[in-house]
């Protein structure tokens, strides 16, 4: 353990902005039972590092893998193949590639306590040059992606470049094979599945369920399959600290309201405050109620109105629809 710490320090030494004490022998906590979110903890890390340098060092890469298993596999799968989180088996991760060309944006994660004094001021002063892609990858991991389940992890000083390097190394692996015929899946999506009665893709369809234009880059293959065969298993929920907008589709909530006249309305919560609630009913219409007009309001946490498709599709058809979903990578903007 000690020798590994020393190797790490050697690798990172030129990058350290501030003298840090030798990291304590890293504990290996089990992945938390509940997923990480509202992670306001952003430990000050040295500035972004050149990741290829780290990848070349087997000890550092092994440490990066260990960190990945601790902090990331619960969402990205044991080998980065994706699950609730995106597949990371690409040399050109879409969010990262986007951030690499965009001007630096504000840190994510919302308000709360900024425990990371100077977190976004970090910049390498010397050492090998850092490519925009490497910088963006480290920034995304450090800050998380606002309004998604991807929250800032709790990394110790110096760990960020290691885990980022491991993620980058995953890009050299072949992407997971996706059986199925995406264009046939597209057909089924429109016809037999009647998915567009609830979902939108690139401006077409309905908005009872989440927009799926981008789902291929946010979710892994297994997750997608499970969404079809066990819709209640993973209802999307992503809290952001101090978010004033609760209409984000990631924070999906199915509600059932009964008015004082006896009408029952099932729908998706669009917004809510102390005195009123706005929901989208199953016809897609927005309904607004003062709570004083309702006799009952049920919040069906963890429940989805989406039908279970295991009996609807033949196994081959299921593959086709999943292949189609995996191919939905951007284009809703």
């Amino acid at each position: 353990m000690l020798s590994r710490s020393i190797t790490l320090l050697l690798v990172l030494a030129p990058l350290a902005l501030r003298a840090q004490p030798a990291p304590a022998t890293p504990a290996t906590p089990a992945a938390p039972a509940a997923p990480i979110e509202h992670g306001t903890e952003i430990v000050v890390a040295p500035g972004p590092a050149n990741l290829d340098q780290i990848i070349k060092n087997p000890a550092s890469l092994a440490e990066g893998r260990r960190l990945f298993q601790t902090h990331c596999t619960s969402c990205h799968g044991p080998n980065g193949e994706g699950a609730r989180g995106a597949s990371l088996l690409s040399p050109n991760l879409p969010r990262v590639a986007e951030a690499a060309v965009a001007p630096a944006e504000a840190p994510g994660g919302g308000g709360g306590r900024g425990r990371g004094r100077g977190a976004n001021a970090a910049a390498a002063t010397d050492g090998p040059p850092v490519s925009p892609y490497d910088r963006a990858l480290q920034q995304i991991i450090q800050r998380g992606i606002p309004a998604t389940e991807m929250q800032p992890p709790r990394l110790q000083p110096g760990e960020l470049p290691l885990v980022a390097a491991f993620v980058k190394s995953l890009g050299q692996l072949p992407p997971e094979p996706v059986p199925g015929n995406a264009s046939h899946g597209a057909e089924l999506f429109k016809t037999k599945g009647a998915c567009m009665t609830c979902h939108m893709i690139r401006g077409e369809g309905a908005v009872i369920g989440p927009d799926l234009s981008d789902v291929g880059r946010a979710r892994g293959v297994a997750y997608m399959r499970r969404a079809l065969t066990d819709p209640n298993a993973d209802v999307p929920k992503a809290f952001q600290a101090y978010r004033n907008d609760i209409s984000l589709p990631q924070n999906f909530l199915f509600v059932r309201a009964v008015t004082k006249n006896g009408e029952t309305i099932g729908g998706v919560r669009v917004n809510e405050d102390t005195f009123s609630i706005q929901l989208r009913d199953l016809t897609g219409k927005v309904r607004s109620f003062f709570k004083s007009e309702l006799s009952e309001l049920h919040k069906e946490w963890g429940q989805s109105p989406m039908p279970n498709y295991s009996a609807v599709f033949a196994p081959g058809e299921l593959d086709d629809v999943v292949a189609f979903l995996v191919s939905q990578r951007g284009g809703n903007k």
Binding site: P21, A27, P32, H38, E41, R113, R115, Y242, D273, T274
Partner: protein, 558 residues
């Protein structure tokens, strides 16, 4: 005397003239005239200590942060009632330039409203129109240590001076008539991680201020400055040094970086001449390994002699806190019968989810009970010390404990209504967090928390305004509020002799409840998050209610 200041500024105040006469400062005006200053105009602003002392009987004004020295936030005004509160309409809205949270409790003196704005700004507003009368600005350094934003919660007034505690640790005295600076004293060096966000407390001839910085390993203290000259009158360190009793409750050298700040305003009992102040969390917040022991006087109430700053008694709510449950919440002084005996009480709804009733003459624990969901203690023992449940200390992986780190309640002011005997407080419910700890060194002015809390995915905590029997801790009723995402309710409470409770929500509703039943009587959507406490006062003899929401100060009237 300072009457020369007043000549130039008299013209500003024509509109408010009627108000100050009506509100009882006439006698002071005449007194100064009689003292040979004629033909000088009488002073526009005169709030001597005697007047603050009797602020409960001066409901046309709001003279100190908590409404009176007991922090009741109770008003004897009765024009606005449960029957007519639904007719309240906005009279004017003042927009400050800053758009971040506005945590101010305004002061109102004879028709003029004084507010602090971020950063380091003081504005005097004409109460009839909302037009600014003067503005004071002070540069704000960029290298301050910020744990939780840079708010300022309000001002103190004494005589004809306004006092501002700045984020960068200056205590500033302004001429209340003009906003001109009279003196500016450094309380402590902000570069050491200290800041100030509280409204100072004016007691007799002194201005008392406390400090923030429990996330930066400061050593907390409370300080009194001479109101006239700004000179330091006394200083009390909330963490005893070597040789002082209590120092042994800190292992090793941990007392040096021990936190225990004093970042909210305290209370004062003129009969006992004691100042009461809540003390914050020990540093580092979540990892107690480096500071074994009870860590006095962190998470305690302290009672100090107002003249000397000497400690009279202390009561520790949460010994060796590791969940950031500081005890800075506003102490409320209540005189009530317990077991047929009249008692002088200090009550507090603590961030740790317990409500406490103490004897404020000696700090003895009388009773206490949880007022919100908590999973860390099975109760309080005879002396009020929590009986801890096992395995609730933060770990590397995280341990689920209720309440979460923002606490069951926090800095927002409660209110006490002597007519209902109820204590009203905004709380956060269904709110647990996974507490984790990490190791980490102390660096001057660097974050020294060594852990934190993660929310429980899928849970949606809610806000609840609770009415608690002040002497027993029993909950009478609650009013639930939606809170956006996982935010906390952050509005203070106001209560009136006409039987109203007024507060606000994080989404921006101001609302009025029946003080006895908790029934909603009125609400108004300001559209801006409410982080402040409402106050009530008279303008032209008519009762008004003011509350900051978003970046606006809203003034409502019938």
């Amino acid at each position: 005397m300072k009457f020369f200041h007043l000549v130039g500024s008299a013209a500003h105040f024509v509109t408010s003239k009627g108000c100050w006469v009506a509100a009882g400062s006439l006698s002071f005006g005449l007194a100064s005239l009689a003292s040979g200053q004629s033909p000088m105009p009488p002073p526009q602003v005169q709030v001597p200590y005697q007047r603050i002392l009797k602020s409960s009987d001066d409901p046309g004004n709001w003279l100190t942060y908590g409404g009176n020295y007991s922090n009741h936030r109770f008003s004897k005004l009765t024009q606005i009632t449960p029957a007519n509160v639904a007719q309240l309409t906005p009279k004017w809205i003042y927009q400050q330039a800053d758009t971040s949270k506005w945590e101010v409790t305004p002061l109102v003196v004879d028709g003029v409203i004084y507010v602090s704005e971020r950063p380091n700004i003081v504005t005097a507003l004409d109460g009839r129109t909302g037009r600014p009368l003067w503005n004071y600005r002070r540069p704000f350094p960029t290298d301050v240590s910020i744990c939780c934003g840079t708010p300022n919660r309000g001002l103190a007034i004494l005589g004809d001076s306004i006092y501002l505690a700045t984020f960068d640790d200056h205590l500033v005295c302004l001429d209340a008539n003009t906003g001109k600076e009279r003196w500016d004293e450094v309380v402590v060096d902000y570069k050491l991680g200290y800041s100030m966000t509280l409204a100072p407390l004016a007691v007799k001839d002194k201005i008392i201020v406390g400090v923030s910085g429990g996330e930066f390993g400061i050593r907390g203290f409370l300080a009194a400055h001479d109101a006239k000259t700004g000179k330091r009158a006394w200083q009390f360190f909330t963490v005893p040094g070597p040789g002082e009793p209590g120092n042994e409750t800190w292992s090793g050298e941990s007392w040096k970086t021990s936190g225990s700040p004093t970042w909210l305003t305290g209370a004062y009992d003129p009969d006992l001449n004691l100042v009461y102040w809540g003390v914050g969390n020990p540093s580092p917040d979540y990892n107690g390994d480096v500071r074994k022991g009870d860590n006095l006087y962190s998470c305690s109430e302290i009672a100090l002699d107002a003249d000397t700053g000497k400690l009279k008694w202390h009561f520790q709510f949460t010994p060796h806190d590791v969940h950031d449950w500081d005890s800075n919440q506003i102490p409320v002084l209540v005189d009530a019968q317990i077991g047929g005996q009249p008692r002088k009480l200090l009550v507090k709804a603590n961030r740790n989810a317990f409500y406490y009733v103490l004897d404020r003459t000696n700090g003895e624990f009388i009773t206490g009970a949880p007022f919100s969901k908590q999973t860390w203690a099975s109760g309080l023992d005879k002396k009020g010390r929590p009986i801890l449940l096992p395995d609730k200390e933060p770990t590397a992986e995280g341990v689920l404990v209720y309440p979460g780190l923002e606490g069951a309640t926090n800095w927002l002011s409660p209110a006490y209504n002597p007519m209902t005997g109820l204590f009203y407080v905004q709380t956060k419910e269904d709110y647990g967090q996974y507490y984790y700890k990490i190791p980490g060194p102390h660096m001057v002015a660097g974050h020294f928390e060594n852990g934190g809390g993660r929310n429980v995915m899928g849970e949606e905590p809610y806000g609840a305004l609770k009415a608690i029997e002040a002497t027993t801790g029993k909950i009478r009723w609650e009013f639930r509020q939606q809170i956006p995402g996982v935010a906390s309710p952050n509005a203070g409470v106001l209560t009136t002799a006409s039987g109203l409770v007024i507060s606000g929500t994080r989404e921006g509703h101001v609302f009025a409840l029946d003080a006895t039943t908790g029934k909603v009587l009125w609400n108004f959507n300001t559209g801006g998050a409410i982080w402040s406490g409402a106050v009530t006062f008279l303008i032209d003899g008519k009762q008004c209610i003011a509350i900051a929401a978003g970046s606006g100060l809203y003034v409502f009237g019938l």
